[in-house]
Amino acid sequence: MVRFALAAVLSVVTAASKELPPLPYAHNALEPFISQRTLEIHHGKHHAKYVNTMNTMISGTDLESQSLEEIVKTAAKEGNQGLFNNAAQSWNHEFYWKCMSPQGGGGPPGKLKEMIESAFGSFDEFKKEFAAAGMTAFGSGWAWLVYDTNKNSLSVTKTIGAGNPMTEGLVPILTMDVWEHAYYLDHQNLRQNYIDKFLVSLVNWDFVSENLERAVSARDSGADL
């Protein structure tokens, strides 16, 4: 019972789990922008496979007791590409689902809005830059809005494969999956259409805003993120 309670506490404290987390919404909740079928396969097959493969790889090792973030960072540091790919993709997908919402869209609130305007000039300019990052990620990759703790500012970046900006010391605030499996059933080659729908109708700005607040207060309190 104690172990169970401890695990429950750890799972609250840990930002991301090492089990396949459930989708934050029903599989059909993002229709018509992302289809039920896409979410079933993207979450139930792709994301699940990354988690299972990672767990197989860390089974019986010290990494089993580490958090998902720690595993990602350790794998990156050690140049363990196979483990990195699966751990980072596990992290990336969990984050991605939360970046979307059936009530998504609209725009950023408060401080996030200010910082976006400060970094990009306007919300529209941010959307253009973020969309361009998504369009120009050649092959499989991700577009990110990140917070730079040192500069106290936001920027847009992109990564390839399983890449995650936390390995560069940046804090992910928002992500968008542009691997073809994220949109191919719904949009085929028209990645631009998927990106437009994501930006207009899907982004969970409350979650993005929370991510920023956490990062900023960690910076203010000098905490190690």
Binding site: I41, K45, H46, K49, T53, Q81, G82, N85, F138, G139, S140, G141, I160, G161, A162, W179, E180, H181, Y184, L185, Q188, N189
Partner: protein, 272 residues
Amino acid sequence: MTKLSLAVAALLAGSAAAWSTPMKMKADTGVNSRRNILQKGAALATAAAIPTAAANAYSVPDLLYPFEALEPYIDAPTMKIHHDKHHGTYVANINKATEGKDPVPILDLMADALEAGPGVRNSGGGHYNHAFFWDEMAPPDKAKKTKPSEQLEGLINKSFGSMDEMKAKFEAQAAPGAVFGSGWVWVCVNEAGDELKLVGTPNQDNPLMKGVCDEVMYPILGLDVWEHAYYLKYQNRRPEYVSNWWNVVDWDKVSENCAYAVENHCGVTVRD
């Protein structure tokens, strides 16, 4: 491409169209079709007495079979979108990247593609790879009648042990853990021409490009494992796509590729 080889290519394209069934959906040749550009270029040249720069325009080669011909192993919608849209985009972009430059076969851009920059590397590579890919495949009924030449069989046995072993290693290299994300798997003739090598490359890179593999090598067989190559039919089931793919491989063409690469120590040309 010289005017003479363009004329030959146009003849070949014309006769290929004659082989296709009435149901064939014509490739979307559009603005970038060589015929279109030649005509426009010729008109411009006549009008303004300037040399036509149009001759370097690449175009998507028509498939040698209808879109549905590789069913059930590769589905018709995939073939159509893959050929018309994905390959079409690479062609549009390589044309942009090479605008104003002297016309050369796309093969000639491969060796120095990394140095030439992302435009040539990604879109030039994309054009070469896909043009190569379409022509090494054939409808299943035709494919099953093809077989490796003695030369190819000898090299396969020498390099991998047997055809079955080659296929097993190829499938392992094509697995999502091996080529992670987007890329291709290739069987190549080495520089010396005495061995076959198996390699995976990322994105639209290929072994012809200096700096991509340990040594430059000459592809004779290649498989696209970008998700767009299989997602509509197979979704996440890439291994099933790969193991089904053998049913549409034209081993006669692969044997020709092999003979050419061994004899000439260079990559095969493609219809570009």
